[in-house]
């Protein structure tokens, strides 16, 4: 039996599938190994994908991919108890869509298989093999070894293999966030009606404040074809200190929230899911993204952008996988899979790409993402201002009056408020 491949890709998520697709399409002999049953069965994400990078990788993406709804409305809400202040942006352009990652990944793996990659599921890779001089030469699964010139590590956020190799430290709570999600079926027409969207168009909604019990993090709501995905993201470092009730109770409170629950009260919870996500990609990035015979892609490479109002993981993962696939083709053409060559073929263009530029630019997000005050006081402040302006019983205050008196109630000076706002704007 053949036991040597040009490339072995570990993990068939968006990053791994895209790496396998690109490398196989260019004629390499590719083995794509996945621990789950079939493609997609271990995949969880929030709910929205940016399309542009995927169009570049996959021909006919818009026509064939399992797209649920194009996001036409973006909502951000500050939640204080049962009150909330919401900003909505509506556009006739849609750059992103909602889907299930289980479906999208499955579609990508099908593409990789059609391009000639060998896909093996139900197999857990236990370690990445190195020879005596430290060069990566293959993988080990349950004591059985398979060899390749290049291994692409797409193992995801839980980096058991990279930790074993000593390329990264054990993940710390300060590096990751926990996302917990429910998918609720309410029907296609009801979604169109309740979210005021046309068929095929959808809403992406981010909420901060009381939804996480004031813990840094936030909640999300995405409309799929006939379901909604709702969930929470909490930063583990602060959650460990601040958590006061089980996380599943917090998700259930989101689902039954007085101001939100009406949207899906008659719905049926179809699935409950959870995953870790790199908190602030740049902080989770390994010291190097390539070694002799090895490239690291996707979540394992810390490639997830969280700006506070939007998350980008799937397209970054796919694009990094695609870049690693192309680098593998070039490296094998040149007959050099050494560390230096792989870093110049893969890591260098990746670090210069818009992805890593964005990750660097949004680093300031860490400040207010790990600043509990932002998540407690500002939603309360915003709701307080709105209440003073709109829950009128007597004289109508001016906006500045309302802001000043609400700030005072929440122990914030106008100066402090201005400074914080300035910081947030600058860092976003």
């Amino acid at each position: 039996m053949e036991t040597k491949f040009d490339v072995i890709v570990v993990g068939a998520g968006p990053a791994g599938a895209s790496a396998a697709y690109t490398a196989a399409k260019r004629g390499l002999k590719v083995l794509l190994v996945e621990r789950g049953r079939g493609a997609g069965s271990k995949q969880v994400f929030g709910g929205r994908v940016y399309a542009a990078p995927l169009r570049e990788i996959y021909e006919g993406f818009d026509k064939e991919a399992p797209i649920h709804r194009w996001v036409r409305k973006e909502r951000v809400s500050l939640v204080d108890g049962n009150r909330m202040v919401t900003v909505e942006y509506e556009s006739d352009q849609a750059a992103s869509f909602t889907t299930y990652l289980t479906q999208l990944t499955s579609w990508m793996v099908d593409r990789a298989v059609n391009a000639g990659a060998v896909f093996v599921d139900e197999v857990r890779v236990d370690s990445i093999l190195r020879d005596g001089s430290g060069r990566v030469v293959g993988i080990d699964s349950g004591g059985e070894r398979v060899y390749a010139d290049i291994v692409i590590d797409a193992e995801g956020v839980n980096r058991l293999l990279l930790e074993k190799l000593g390329l990264v430290e054990k993940t710390r709570p300060s590096q990751v966030a926990l996302g917990v999600k429910e998918v609720i079926k309410i029907g296609e027409d009801k979604i169109n009606e309740r979210f005021s969207v046309a068929p095929g168009e959808g809403v992406s909604w981010v909420l901060v404040g009381a939804v996480t019990g004031g813990m840094p993090g936030g909640a999300f709501i995405y409309t799929n074809k006939d379901t909604v995905s709702i969930g929470l993201v909490v930063y583990l470092e602060t959650a460990v200190e601040m958590v006061e009730e089980p996380i599943h109770v917090m998700v259930e409170k989101l689902r039954t929230h007085p101001a939100l629950g009406r949207l899906w009260a008659d719905g049926d919870v179809m699935e409950y899911a959870a995953r870790l996500t790199p908190e602030s990609g740049y902080r989770y990035m390994p010291r190097k993204l390539a070694a002799h015979g090895l490239m690291v892609v996707g979540d394992a490479a810390g490639l997830l952008l969280n700006t506070g109002y939007t998350f980008r993981g799937v397209d970054y993962a796919a694009l990094s996988g695609h870049m690693a696939g192309e680098a593998a083709v070039k490296a094998l053409e040149q007959g050099d899979v050494g560390e230096e060559n792989l870093r110049s073929l893969y890591e260098k263009p990746l670090l210069e790409s818009f992805m890593v530029r964005d990750l660097r630019r949004h680093r300031g997000i860490e400040w207010f993402m790990s600043n509990p005050e932002f998540f407690k006081k500002y939603p309360a402040l915003a709701a307080g201002v709105a209440s003073k302006l709109f829950d009128l019983e007597g004289e109508a205050p001016t906006l500045l009056d309302a802001l000043r008196s609400s700030a005072k109630e929440h122990g914030l000076s106008m100066f402090r408020l201005a400074m914080d706002m300035f910081r947030v704007v600058r860092k976003l």
Binding site: R35, G36, R37, G38, G40, S41, K42, Q43, V44, F45, N82, Y100, L101, T102, D121, E122, R124, G142, V157, N158, L160, T171, P173, V176, L178, V180, K181, E182, V183, T227, S229, L236, A239, V240, V243, E244, P246, I247, H248, V249, V251, E252, K253, R255, T256, P258, A259, G261, R262, W264, A265, D266, V269, M270, E271, Y272, A273, A274, R275, L276
Partner: protein
């Protein structure tokens, strides 16, 4: 907000986990050293494991792997390094469909 509409009821975590599909292996993919847990002051796993796999009974941690969502949270937050964590083999464990 009193619109008179039916208010959704909270679902207990045991029932919530029934909405998710599993093919449970007879081998546990996570092993917990409960002696270490006994010395753990905060036991954050009892709050942050989304599948409630870690439960306090008589001040002791009782762990069950069957409902595990394979997120990795416990591995990262455990202050006692009491958890040997891995993924299930043979495609067993959680089988996501709509996520």
């Amino acid at each position: 907000m009193s619109t008179g509409e039916a208010k959704p009821k909270l679902i207990r975590v045991e029932d919530l986990l029934q909405r998710t599909v599993y093919d449970v292996d007879h081998r546990a993919h996570i092993v917990v050293d409960s002696e270490k847990c006994a010395k753990c002051p905060k036991k954050p796993c009892t709050y942050l494991c989304p599948a409630s796999c870690y439960v306090l009974v008589d001040d002791r941690i009782v762990f069950s792997y069957e409902g595990c969502l394979e997120c990795g949270t416990c591995r990262v937050i455990c202050p006692m390094d009491a958890i040997s964590w891995n993924f299930p083999v043979s495609g067993k464990g959680v089988q996501y469909r709509f996520s």
